[in-house]
Amino acid sequence: MTTLLTDLITLSAAGLLIATFGVVVRRSFVGWVSAYRYQSVVLAASTAVVGYSTGFWDIYAAALLTLVVKAEVIPRLLVRVTSGVEGGLKMEANPYVSIRLSVLVSALLVALSYAMVGQILASAKLDALAQAYLPVSVSLFFIGLFAMVSRRTALNQVVGLLIIENGLFLFTTALTRGVSLIIEVGILADALVGVVISAALLTRMSRTFDTMDTGSLEKLKDD
């Protein structure tokens, strides 16, 4: 493996982490969506790097699809949904956990991911690609999960899900090496349909409850 390639891999992995922190530090929904867009662009670039290093042409196709669907279609869709909602774009995060603390927690989660991957897969002989991308994809998963539980609005949970999904996509590309273009297309299609359905659900939620605060979703219980 050439030094250039190793550098590229390390750079794109670092870029992904930085883009993920972009989501953590933003307050407004527009901020999240643009941060998600940056993350997706970096993800597409990373996928292309995987394609370059393994030499499978279909990984390039997956990269292109990622670019189109995640950096263009999904953000556009999300912005359109929120513009239909009164004051949707100026919504405050009103988080359960403050932004400053969120950054700290996210940093801890990244450290935890590196430790975990090192621990669990210590026996497995990982190559350079997996070594660089695995901890990053696990971090994306954790940070996405954290974003979902630390903030109130339902939109956040969608953004959290999308971050998790980006992590999954990276994980799949790094470990399966393009033997599964069809599966990656399937995952992308699921993500796209998921966003469409959650968008419809969000519109309905804001109309019925007059809020997107998930705290208002607690009617169904047995007592």
Partner: protein, 520 residues
């Protein structure tokens, strides 16, 4: 011309033949029906198309299953799709319950339509979604590629969320949202696990030419996989697919989703969708047992099974809403299946698979009955439903049969499989777990019967004005509402004391698939 002929030949050659073609048409049928519904946008046409498609699916699945019973494993598209006895066992209930649910929908959704709860747009959406739902569920047992299986399971989540949010009530929106978020996060975990399995396989057997995600390859080479990776991967898959299967403590979305969905959809969610997830767990259980030996996966399955039964027992006791109580009962039954798989051995696995079939008949029966009853009484709250058997003689009797079957009374089918599961537990030396299972079964029995008996036999209060005239008049809400229940109740009763030979062969072969015995 010659070129053209060659082209046609090569296309025909690439197409799967015989039973394999059936695997494709069985998927195309509901797809075509959904497209037809979406294009024509007429209520009558939508009902007819859905019924015809459901009937055709039943016939084609019967054809596929007959082939599998005869001993041939069907596969197509270079092992991308395949069907063995275990898959067939999951596929038969999907087709069967799909058909009775389509039949029941005509009456149930028709009545919602007459009452103005849903309009034409909703009806079209409902039937289109219904067909797609059947389609996505059938891909799960047909997929040999585990990645495709995951994509299909995730697709079932999305389409069932779509069906739950058909109603615009606060409850439905809340339920749909929770279901979407919890199930999607759970399934993300499952995909992590599946990719790890595939990674373990591709590093262990790098020469394999086929896709590194094919289940058959992984299962065949299970011994060669890295145990450290497989252990982690199986835990991920179990937690992820366990979420979708409603195993406690990941079951939190389930009572909401099953309670708020339209009743025919609840029947599908509870009766067959949960099976698809359990089926996924079983598939990876086979690989994990092959790599790690049976004790690690079994202990996990027994633990989750007992926890599910325990939480379900408490929740059934405190439930006030009829459909939520049935949903908790589903958690209990998924727990029983998981427990029986954990007990293992031929008898335990046989019990688990038989229980999948039994639950898939009794639970839809209960959801259909509860749907009709709640339409008649205008409420799902159990304390307000009294004397069903006096107001609706047929439905009341069927509700009683289904209820007694669900709690495991002899001579109904669920008793048979629960008894087998207990036998295997005691025979396998799992005294503590099997005793705990008996205790929890008794608790669920008490909690369930406490609600069921007054609902069926109590005296109907005459001052309540039901939406359809007085409750004094006897009315079962139409033949089309009763017929699907009669079909299911017949199976529930018959399977209690007689198992047809083909089903016996199928379950035996499926157990052999799990145990890794080559089919005879």
């Amino acid at each position: 011309m010659v070129m053209w002929g060659l082209y046609v030949d090569s296309v025909l050659g690439a197409l799967p033949s015989g039973s394999a073609a059936l695997m494709v048409t069985v998927l195309l049928t509901p797809a075509a029906a959904a497209a037809f519904v979406a294009v024509t946008r007429r209520k009558r046409l939508a009902e007819a198309a859905t019924l015809i498609s459901a009937l055709l699916v039943v016939l084609q699945v019967a054809g596929l299953a007959a082939g599998v019973v005869a001993g041939t494993r069907v596969s197509g598209f270079g092992e991308f799709l395949s069907l063995d006895a275990l898959g067939a066992l999951v596929m038969i209930p999907i087709a069967g319950v799909g058909f009775v649910a389509a039949l029941y929908s005509v009456n149930y959704m028709g009545r919602q339509y007459e009452r103005g709860i849903v309009d034409d747009r909703h009806i079209v959406r409902y039937y289109a979604g219904f067909n797609v739902f059947i389609l996505t569920m059938m891909v799960v047992p047909l997929a040999n590629n585990t990645g495709l299986m995951w994509v299909a399971i995730e697709a079932t989540t999305l389409i069932s969320v779509f069906l739950i949010m058909l109603y615009t009530t606060e409850g439905a929106i809340e339920a749909a949202w929770k279901y979407l978020i919890v199930a999607t996060v759970g399934l993300s975990l499952a995909l992590f696990g599946i990719i790890l399995f595939s990674y373990a396989y591709s590093t262990a057997a790098p020469t394999s030419s086929g896709s590194a995600m094919n289940w058959t390859g992984m299962a065949a080479d299970a011994r060669m996989l890295d145990p450290a990776i497989v252990k982690v991967a199986f835990v991920f898959v179990l937690v992820g697919l366990g979420t979708k299967a409603g195993l406690a403590p990941m079951h939190t979305w389930l009572p909401d989703a099953h309670g708020e969905a339209p009743s025919p959809v609840s029947a599908l969610l509870s009766g067959v969708l949960l099976n698809c997830a359990i089926y996924g767990v079983l598939r990876f259980n086979i690989i994990a047992s092959g790599t790690l030996g049976p004790s690690f996966p079994s202990e996990l399955m027994i633990g989750l099974g007992l926890l599910s039964m325990g939480i379900a027992a408490a929740s059934v006791y405190f439930a006030k809403d009829m459909k939520r109580m049935l949903a908790y009962s589903s958690v209990e039954h998924m727990g029983i299946i998981s427990l029986a798989v954990g007990f293992g051995g031929f008898v335990g696995l046989f019990a688990a698979l038989f229980h999948i079939i039994n639950h898939a008949t009794a639970k839809p029966l209960m959801f259909f009955a509860s749907g009709t009853v709640s339409q008649r009484f205008g409420t799902k709250t159990m304390s307000e439903i009294r004397g069903v058997i006096k107001v609706m003689p047929f439905t009341g009797a069927l509700l009683l049969v289904g209820g007694l079957a669900i709690v495991g009374m002899p001579p109904f089918n669920i008793f048979a499989s629960e008894f087998l599961a207990l036998t295997s537990g005691f025979a396998g030396g799992q005294f503590m777990a099997a005793s705990a299972m008996i205790l929890l079964l008794v608790l669920v029995f008490a909690g369930f019967i406490r609600q069921l008996v007054p609902m069926v036999f109590g005296s109907p209060s005459s001052d309540r004005s039901a939406p359809l005239g007085s409750t004094e008049r006897k009315d079962d809400m139409g033949m089309l509402a009763v017929l699907p229940m009669v079909i299911l109740a017949t199976i529930v009763v018959v399977l209690g004391f007689y198992m047809p030979q083909p089903l016996q062969t199928l379950i035996r072969d499926a157990v052999h698939v799990i145990q890794g015995v080559p089919s005879s």
